[in-house]
């Protein structure tokens, strides 16, 4: 196993992590500010990807599609908040789980009703295909580098938004004391809609960006939703910093586990058995990581909240 391969796999892990962060940041914001568990967050990811695929196919422009994907996800998010979610803020977590579970069913089957059962086509634009040659003669796809770049840019933007703007101030206030900001005359319901739409828009962006690399199909949001939950729980629910570190940790551990566990087991097992055992263990790895972290730090690494 060469060092260049290791570096490349680390890059892959970071790239997976940045995309997970886009999902996880919305989830964790919504939980931090409104105290809501949203299982339907993966549906916004799907909405973003479908809108991007549709607009890209009809206009030929990936950037237009991307804009449409973010806008559609944010809009659908705002609508869902207005119609359903705001009735759930004072409800127990259990009701939130049931309602958002129901939303998953509605979104998945509604999407299939509108777009049909077949996966949609969506690819990176031609000016982002191709690869760059890294030191050590490894080729790395430009598009994946762009994803990493986007992830970093959005992390910084989110940081600035939360630490430097009025909206961010309110978000922070909402995270630390929900009743207080109402008492201070901040229009809470508008803030909640805004935060929810922001989270949905970020999920839509992730869906659109990743959709170009993966398959745009019904149910695409579910695996990534579970991963995003793992991320925010590891990082500490409500903490953006925790979400970022959790996302990178999960991305890197998952990627390296998939590659190196089968190889590790080959040291003392016949190859075909080793790959079987190794990849079975790799599938369980991030959940083991999460259980271990929670066993020692029951509120995650950087808890902002109880």
């Amino acid at each position: 196993m060469s060092v260049t391969l290791l570096i490349e796999q680390l890059l892959n892990g970071v790239q997976l992590g940045t995309m997970l962060f886009l999902m996880a940041s919305g989830l964790t914001l919504v939980f931090g500010v409104m105290g809501l568990i949203n299982l339907a967050h993966g549906s916004f990811y799907m909405v973003g990807a479908y809108a991007t695929a549709t607009v890209t196919a009809s206009t030929g422009s990936f950037l237009l599609g991307l804009g449409a994907g973010i806008a559609a996800a944010a809009l659908v998010g705002a609508l869902v908040e207005l119609l359903v979610i705001r009735r759930l803020y004072h409800r127990p977590h259990l009701d939130q789980v049931l309602a958002t579970f129901a939303l998953i069913l509605i979104f998945s089957e509604g999407t299939r009703w509108i777009f049909g059962s077949s996966p949609l086509w969506l690819s990176p634009p031609s000016w982002l295909t191709g690869f760059v040659t890294l030191p050590g003669d490894t080729r790395y796809p430009i598009y994946r580098l762009v994803l990493i770049g986007m992830g970093i840019a959005i992390s910084i933007a989110l940081y600035l938004l939360i630490s430097r703007t009025r909206l961010g101030m309110r978000i922070r206030a909402g995270e630390s004391d929900r009743e207080m900001i109402g008492a201070l005359g901040v229009n809470i319901s508008k803030l909640y809609t805004l935060v929810f739409a922001l989270g949905a828009g970020l999920a839509g962006l992730a869906g659109a960006l990743v959709g170009a690399l993966q398959s745009v199909q019904v149910g695409m949001g579910e695996p990534v939703l579970i991963l995003a939950f793992v991320v925010i729980v590891i990082g500490g629910i409500g903490s953006i910093k925790g979400a970022l570190l959790g996302a990178l940790l999960v991305g890197i551990v998952d990627t390296l586990g998939r590659v190196y566990l089968p190889i590790f087991f080959q040291a003392f097992m016949p190859p075909s058995e080793a790959t079987g055992v190794g990849s079975a263990l790799a599938a369980m790895l991030i959940y083991i990581l999460m259980a271990v972290i929670l066993a020692f730090k029951p509120k995650g690494l950087f808890s902002a909240h109880d």
Binding site: F31, I37, L39, V84, R87, L88, R91, H93, L94, D95, V97, L98, A99, F101, A102, L103, I104, L105, I106, S108, E109, G110, R112, W113, I226, F229, V230, V233, I237, G276, S279, A280, A283, M284, Y287, I288, M290, A291, L294, A295, P298, K299, G300, D306
Partner: protein
């Protein structure tokens, strides 16, 4: 919520009125009228569940008998989950694991009994068995053991962390079952011949339904007895105010852990019954979707109500069966109904039919 929660919030199976200690006469009479309506609804529910399949059997409609068995078993699994969620306030998003483990005990045991191979031969020989009694015992014990391990770690966390850590453990075991080839991996494991019981023909649909029905009634009776005991009072207090419990000198952690273990054992027994009903067990029984469905059933019926899981299971399975026949987009309508229930019928279907529980 009132402070009147240490008394039981459930009537016994025989529908005796529970002892009421409130001094307010008006409240008492209101509660009594609730009891009447509630008792009637509950008795009707249980009676119909017993009588309809029996009638269907003698009219020759085997399918409805099996459908009733399915409802009964899923209700039983939900009774287990309700003990954790409803009474204990422990929102487990991983109860499918116990359901699946129970199922795999039945499946693996039957597999070895059929193959005449031992389950393990070292350090001592464990043969397979096609006896339901053995299967049930092992399923209950293994589920209790697994829940003890998972609960011991998970109960250190609370709230969303608890939801997610139970999910994480469930996912671990789900992936393990998916990729472990010996017992079929993702393809699952068929049970060729239903496991057997002494003195009863378990392959007869009505007999099997009655077995399941007995299991459900027992599970509900255990829950009811448990919640009326001092242990139940402590558990309720642990859910409502664990600081007060701690000041009373009782550590909430072991109380929660024990009820989590009992909850898992009930769900595991249901899983063993389900595997025998279907003649099949697969990792789908362990998936997070199934955990979610069990939660949906509990909430649908009414959280923390003795009859809630039964009402929820009846409604959920009927919707699944009827809507599935009408449109291929049935899950969309299922979602709309669920959303309607959670938004507009806050205390579940039973709350809507039978009135609120007193501690709500």
């Amino acid at each position: 919520m009132t402070n009147n929660t240490s008394t039981s919030n459930s009537s016994s199976l025989a529908n005796r009125a529970s002892q009421r200690t409130t001094t307010d006469a008006a409240l008492a009479s209101k509660a009594n009228s609730h009891f009447d309506r509630k008792g009637l609804v509950q008795l009707t529910l249980l009676g119909l569940l017993l009588l309809l399949p029996v009638a269907a059997y003698f009219l020759g409609h085997i399918y409805y008998v099996n459908l009733a068995s399915r409802i009964t078993i899923i209700a039983m699994a939900a009774v287990g989950l309700n003990l954790a969620i409803g009474y204990g306030g422990m929102v487990s998003f991983g109860h499918a694991v116990y359901f699946g483990l129970g199922g795999y005990v039945a499946g693996i045991s039957a597999f070895h009994a059929f193959d005449l191979t031992p389950f393990m031969s070292w350090p001592f020989t464990v043969p397979g068995s096609d006896s339901m009694l053995v299967v049930w015992l092992v399923a209950v014990l293994l589920c209790a053991l697994l829940a003890l391990a998972i609960g011991a770690i998970s109960l250190r966390t609370t709230g969303v962390y608890f939801i997610m850590i139970t999910l994480a453990f469930a996912q671990m075991i789900y992936y393990f079952a998916n990729s472990w080839p010996t017992y079929g991996g993702q393809d699952g494991l068929p049970i060729y011949i239903r496991n057997t019981l002494p003195l009863a023909d378990s392959s007869n649909a009505l007999t099997y339904f009655l077995i399941c029905f007995t299991g459900l009634v027992l599970a509900m009776a255990i829950t009811s007895r448990l919640m009326k005991s001092r242990f139940g009072a402590a558990l309720t207090m642990a859910r409502l105010n664990d600081v007060r419990l701690a000041t009373a000198g009782i550590n909430p952690y072991p109380i929660r852990l024990v009820s989590f273990v009992i909850s898992a054992a009930i769900t595991g027994l249901a899983g063993a019954l389900y595997a025998d009903l279907n003649g099949f067990v697969s990792p789908a029984m362990l998936s997070w979707h199934f955990s979610g469905e069990l939660m949906v059933i509990v909430i649908l019926g009414g959280v923390g109500r003795l009859y809630g899981p039964l009402a929820g299971a009846v409604l959920f399975v009927m919707m699944e069966t009827l809507l599935g026949g009408i449109t291929e987009y049935w899950q969309l309508f299922l979602g709309l109904v669920l959303l309607g229930v959670v938004l507009f019928a806050k205390h579940g279907v039973l709350g809507w039919l039978a009135g609120r529980e007193r501690n709500e």
